[in-house]
């Protein structure tokens, strides 16, 4: 009887067991990227840039060339490499402390120059690696080790929406936000990731996919509770979907004022920002 393989490990992943905590979605997102590298046949000319954060060891799990950046500087590393060797497919994989705090200058200007690489941005609303401190993306009222009474927006400000912030720039081509908390959204996010890499392949320009992620350990929740927490608390503040695509040119500005977005799970974007 013929046996059909219906599921296997992507070639772009190694056999190593990840060090991620149970219920953390870094691993899921790694897989989405690895599948994309396989499907587009670009593994052999792909170079990833790992951040400083829980995914600093991403190169142990990806079966492609990798650089390990200084904290927040992955977009600068990627700029230098891609500009020097434009034939490569370059991507950064960064956390929210890395990209939205210490590395805001690097990401903003890489996006604005339209650097032709892809950014996978993991928003777990916390500094995972250093043990659960407040991130720029930590929700209002969210308890962390450095906001023990909950994030006080009076002193810490409101959480930064990176997707929306970068979408105000005219240059970048593709900016979307997905989530790895549910099977539906994981599949949808895979489409975003794939598109982002395709835009890089066609030389279109900078692409970024933000992925809402869990951190059960530092949120102090079970994996299941974490998934629910993403859905109930993060998504209302961080609406999902594509915000900027190259086909729409300046439509992002209309979005910024209209602020409506259709989503597979019916998460209408009600917040006005």
């Amino acid at each position: 009887m013929a046996v059909n393989t219906v599921f296997c490990k992507p070639e772009a992943m190694t056999d190593a067991h990840t060090h991620y905590c149970p219920g953390c979605t870094h691993g899921v997102t790694h897989r989405l990227v690895a599948e994309t590298l396989d499907e587009l046949g670009i593994r052999e000319r792909a170079v990833g840039v790992a951040p400083v954060g829980c995914s600093v060891l991403a190169y142990n799990y990806f079966n492609c060339d990798f650089l390990e950046a200084a904290h927040g500087r992955a977009p600068a590393f990627a700029t230098g490499l891609k500009r020097s060797s434009p034939e490569l497919t370059v991507f950064t994989y960064q956390g929210d402390g890395d990209l939205a705090s210490i590395g805001t200058n690097e990401i903003l200007h890489a996006a604005n120059r339209g650097e032709k690489f892809t950014v996978i941005f993991i928003n777990n609303a916390i500094y995972g690696m250093t043990g659960g401190q407040m991130a720029p993306t930590t929700l209002a009222g969210q308890v962390t080790t450095t906001s023990p009474s909950g994030r006080d927006v009076e002193s810490a400000g409101w959480p930064i929406r990176i997707r929306e912030l970068l979408a105000t720039l005219r240059t970048p081509a593709y900016i979307a936000r997905g989530s790895a908390h549910s099977p539906q959204w994981t599949i949808r996010t895979k489409q975003f990731v794939r598109k982002a890499f395709q835009y890089q392949e066609s030389g279109t320009c900078f692409s970024l996919v933000e992925v809402l992620s869990t951190c059960p350990t530092n949120w102090g929740m079970s994996p299941t509770e974490s998934m629910r927490w993403v859905e109930e608390n993060m998504i209302p503040y961080y609406p999902l979907g594509e915000l900027k695509t190259p086909d729409e040119e300046d439509a992002s500005f209309a979005r910024l004022t209209g602020g409506l977005e259709a989503t597979p799970n019916g998460y209408a974007e009600k917040t006005r920002w």
């Binding site: 170079v47 190169y59 200084a70 500087r73 490499l81 500009r83 020097s84 200058n105």
Partner: protein, 367 residues
């Protein structure tokens, strides 16, 4: 080839291209901005890449990424910008990536001034960033030498897989001098395919990283780096001995622009029959310790005077590497002021006449 009259900063940019380095990332800062302006114009002509970075933090971290391609890459800045680059210098040196950094040094600390200085000697030679590492640092004293150093710098960077710094100053960067680009040629770029991130086609992935969580691995990497620096110290010390009438009694030690001034002073004094000479470090890391040690042991050498455009930095190395066996004085100007030959002559005469005691025994003089 005929010599051409060129501004130091532009000559440095052109020299890089002649050395085969066509990837350049930088941020404007006086007094080195002409490097970027020149290259913004020139690099497109040779199919090169110039990115004006968002900051020196950005530029220097772009260098990490660019150097990972195995191609010849470089950046330039001046003191406050070099401070921002210290993060990348530490990571790049740890990852053993070949590249060239140029510091057209200006007066500090803080925003300081835009005039020439050698105030970053400690930073360049001892404390370029966190952790245990060294740059190879070349200190030109003419525009021609800056061009030659650029050629050498890329070869050294390739050979040792280590960043090389050109320590110029605002004077070298800004002045115009005749240069001959054919005098020294850079060697062929080295094959870096065994480690560069060029895509894992038909081979295992190449990972360029600086994290060593296991202390044994980290120590082993540090030991490996230390052995490399020992090799650099053994093989790359460069210096020049200038002037003297056969058995100089006083040795001036100075590098870069300060050494030019000393040469003029020495020409005048030698002409008048005063037997003094200049010891000029060409590499300030590695410090040319062996040659200076040998020189300082000579019977006829009675004392040394370090002339610098700072508050007394290289003089510490002069003391260290001569074992303090002869009295060592210091004369320096700060704040962007270049000492004049007359001032140096005056100091030399005072020391030789024995009118003045060594600097360390008297309070610092303000001038």
């Amino acid at each position: 080839m005929a010599k051409q009259l060129m501004k130091g900063n532009e000559a440095i940019g052109e020299a890089a291209i002649r050395a085969g380095a066509t990837r350049y990332f930088a941020y404007p800062i006086t007094p080195q901005t002409e490097v970027a302006e020149y290259l913004a114009r020139r690099l497109p002509e040779v199919g090169g890449v110039f990115v004006q970075a968002e900051s020196e933090l950005g530029a220097s971290n772009m260098i990490f990424g660019a150097a990972s391609s195995g191609k010849r890459v470089f950046t330039s800045s001046s003191s406050p910008g070099i401070s921002l680059m210290s993060e990348a210098l530490s990571y790049i040196t740890c990852a053993e990536l070949p590249c060239v950094f140029i510091n057209v040094c200006r007066a500090g600390p803080g925003l300081g001034g835009i005039l020439p200085s050698q105030g970053d000697y400690f930073q360049a030679t001892h404390a370029s960033g966190h952790g245990d590492f060294h740059l190879i640092v070349l200190a030109p004293s003419t525009v021609q030498e800056a061009v030659e150093h650029m050629m050498t710098a890329f070869d050294l960077a390739d050979r040792y897989r280590n960043p090389v710094m050109i320590f110029a100053d605002g004077l070298i960067g800004q002045m115009m001098e005749p240069v001959d680009f054919e005098a020294v040629k850079s060697g062929e770029a080295v094959d870096h395919s065994s480690w560069a991130t060029t895509g894992a086609k038909g081979r295992k992935p190449h990972i360029i990283k600086t994290l060593y969580l296991n202390p044994n691995d980290n120590e082993a990497h540090n030991v490996h780096l230390a052995e490399k620096y020992a090799g650099i110290r053994a093989n790359e010390q460069r210096s020049e001995l200038y002037g003297g009438l056969g058995s100089p009694e006083l040795i001036l030690t100075a590098f870069g622009t300060a050494a030019r001034v000393c040469k003029t002073a020495i020409d005048v004094l030698n002409e008048q029959g005063v037997d003094i000479a200049l010891f000029r470090p060409i590499t300030i890391y590695p410090f040319p310790a062996d040659a200076l040690d040998k020189l300082s042991r000579k019977q006829h050498v009675k004392r040394l005077l370090s002339v610098e455009m700072n508050n007394g930095q290289m003089v510490e190395d002069v003391k260290l590497f001569t074992g303090n066996r002869k009295p060592i004085d210091f004369f320096g100007r700060q704040g962007g002021i270049v000492p004049s030959p007359e001032e140096v002559i005056e100091r030399v005469r005072a020391l030789l006449d024995g009118k003045k005691k060594p600097a360390k025994e008297r309070p610092a003089e303000a001038k």
